[in-house]
């Protein structure tokens, strides 16, 4: 009994420590955004590279996944609704499922698998090899040079890829529909645009910003907890991914509430 209480207490303390540290990290991130050095060539180079690694290299896989999900979900759902005479609800159902829910979630999952893991390993190795100390010794703020470009590129790529997902999945869905049902592309696009509301667009962008921020900031913050042992890197990777998983769930809940 005592052990259970102690372990629960320790977990609570660890969680509080994480939230306090992560809050301080977030404050430092926003402060760093006002540092004029973020417009200097060295930081721009890191930003461009991170955009390439996060948003460009993933495009073939991402397009395939978007198309496959579009064929299955948009096509399947619309066909199902038309068969049951619910054509009028096609737009709102597609917008809610594709734009509000699926696009941010699928993009977040793919970016987590590809980029967040890589960023955790990269920052953890830099921390272990004292390369972050090197930056400090050169009067270079690691927030400005390392973290801010990665976090900003995460937000931008999250937004860009989610929008691409919406387009590709709707196109993929239409491919199926055009073969099976007598539905014109104009009709599909028209019903989708009619179903767009300010709330849906707002929730879509709130989710993109939050997910983009969490996708990069949580792995970076977790990687910075690594000490001097190589064995700490897989542990940081595991912790980072679990924290990110919880963050994605929280964002999804926020999306439902809004």
């Amino acid at each position: 009994m005592r052990k259970t209480i102690e372990s629960t207490g320790q977990k609570a303390i660890d969680s509080m420590r994480f939230f306090a540290g992560y809050f301080a990290f977030t404050v430092a991130f926003f402060k760093g955004c006002f540092n004029p050095h973020i417009f200097y060539p060295s930081v721009k180079l890191v930003f461009r590279r991170q955009i390439y690694f996060t948003g460009v290299q993933i495009l073939p896989t991402f397009s395939f996944v978007s198309l496959a999900l579009g064929l299955a979900l948009v096509g399947g759902l619309t066909k199902f609704m038309v068969q049951f005479g619910a054509e009028s609800a096609v737009g709102s159902v597609l917008v809610t499922t594709t734009v509000k829910e699926l696009a941010p979630l699928v993009t977040a999952i793919l970016l987590t698998l590809r980029t967040s893991t890589a960023v955790t390993a990269e920052i953890a190795l830099m921390k272990m090899n004292r390369e972050i100390e090197t930056l400090k010794s050169l009067s270079i703020d690691p927030f400005v040079y390392l973290y801010i470009p990665r976090i900003l590129s995460g937000v931008i790529c999250m937004a860009a890829l989610s929008i691409i997902f919406v387009y590709i999945s709707i196109l993929g869905g239409y491919l199926i529909l055009s073969f099976n049902l007598n539905i014109s592309f104009d009709f599909l696009i028209g019903t989708i645009f009619d179903a767009f509301t300010f709330n849906i667009v707002l929730v879509f962008f709130i989710k993109l910003i939050l997910l983009g921020y969490f996708l990069m900031s949580i792995p970076i913050y977790t990687a910075l907890q690594v000490g001097n042992a190589v064995t700490e890197i897989p542990i940081a990777l595991l912790k980072g991914m679990f924290r990110l998983f919880y963050a994605i769930i929280i964002v999804e809940i926020i999306g439902v509430i809004l």
Binding site: Y40, L45, M126, R130, K136, L138
Partner: protein, 171 residues
């Protein structure tokens, strides 16, 4: 010209000095050449050297490239322009670290435990480097047991760390 040699006897003293210098370097530009601050592994040699110049002085890649090639040629390592840290030997890493610090344009260049940065076979090259390189304000901090390495360095004066820190760095 201010060139000092500072010796320590215990590792604890060296660690304390290093912490003091790092705290100072975060605020003001101090070029620390030390194995404790390695070059960045996922950047090439040219990117490593250009990093402080691009961050502090807005130097572009195109503008910095020619100067860096010229500097690397002096040490016969211009072929390593696009190499990563793991493709360099200990002395080449030391040179890249030194050039990185040089492009920071610091008031002082500090060689902290230089003996640890390269193996014995590069000792002569290191001496040659110190003799040829035009360092106006530099400090070598080394363990007492390596004092013999710097006995012929006549332009370097032995000094106390605290004295240097208070008089020259105003710490």
């Amino acid at each position: 010209m201010s060139k000092y040699l500072i010796y320590y006897e215990h590792e604890d003293t060296a660690d304390a000095w290093m912490s003091t210098l790092l705290r100072y370097a975060v605020q003001k530009r101090l070029g620390i050449v030390s194995g404790s601050f390695p070059i960045i592994g996922n950047l090439s040699v040219i990117e490593n050297i250009l990093l402080p110049a691009a961050y502090h002085h807005k130097t572009s890649y195109e503008n910095g490239e020619k100067a860096i090639i010229k500097d690397l040629r002096k040490f016969n390592i211009e072929h390593h322009l696009h190499s990563r840290s793991n493709q360099l030997n200990n002395f080449e890493r030391f040179i890249v670290k030194f050039l990185q610090v040089k492009y920071l344009e610091p008031d002082w260049t500090v060689f902290f435990n230089p003996r640890r940065m390269f193996i014995a076979e590069y000792e002569e090259q290191f001496h040659q480097f110190l003799r040829c390189e035009d360092l106006k304000k530099s400090v070598i901090i080394e363990h007492e047991k390596h004092r013999y390495l710097f006995e012929d360095m006549n332009d370097y004066i032995e000094k106390d760390f605290d004295l240097w820190a208070t008089q020259d760095l105003n710490i």
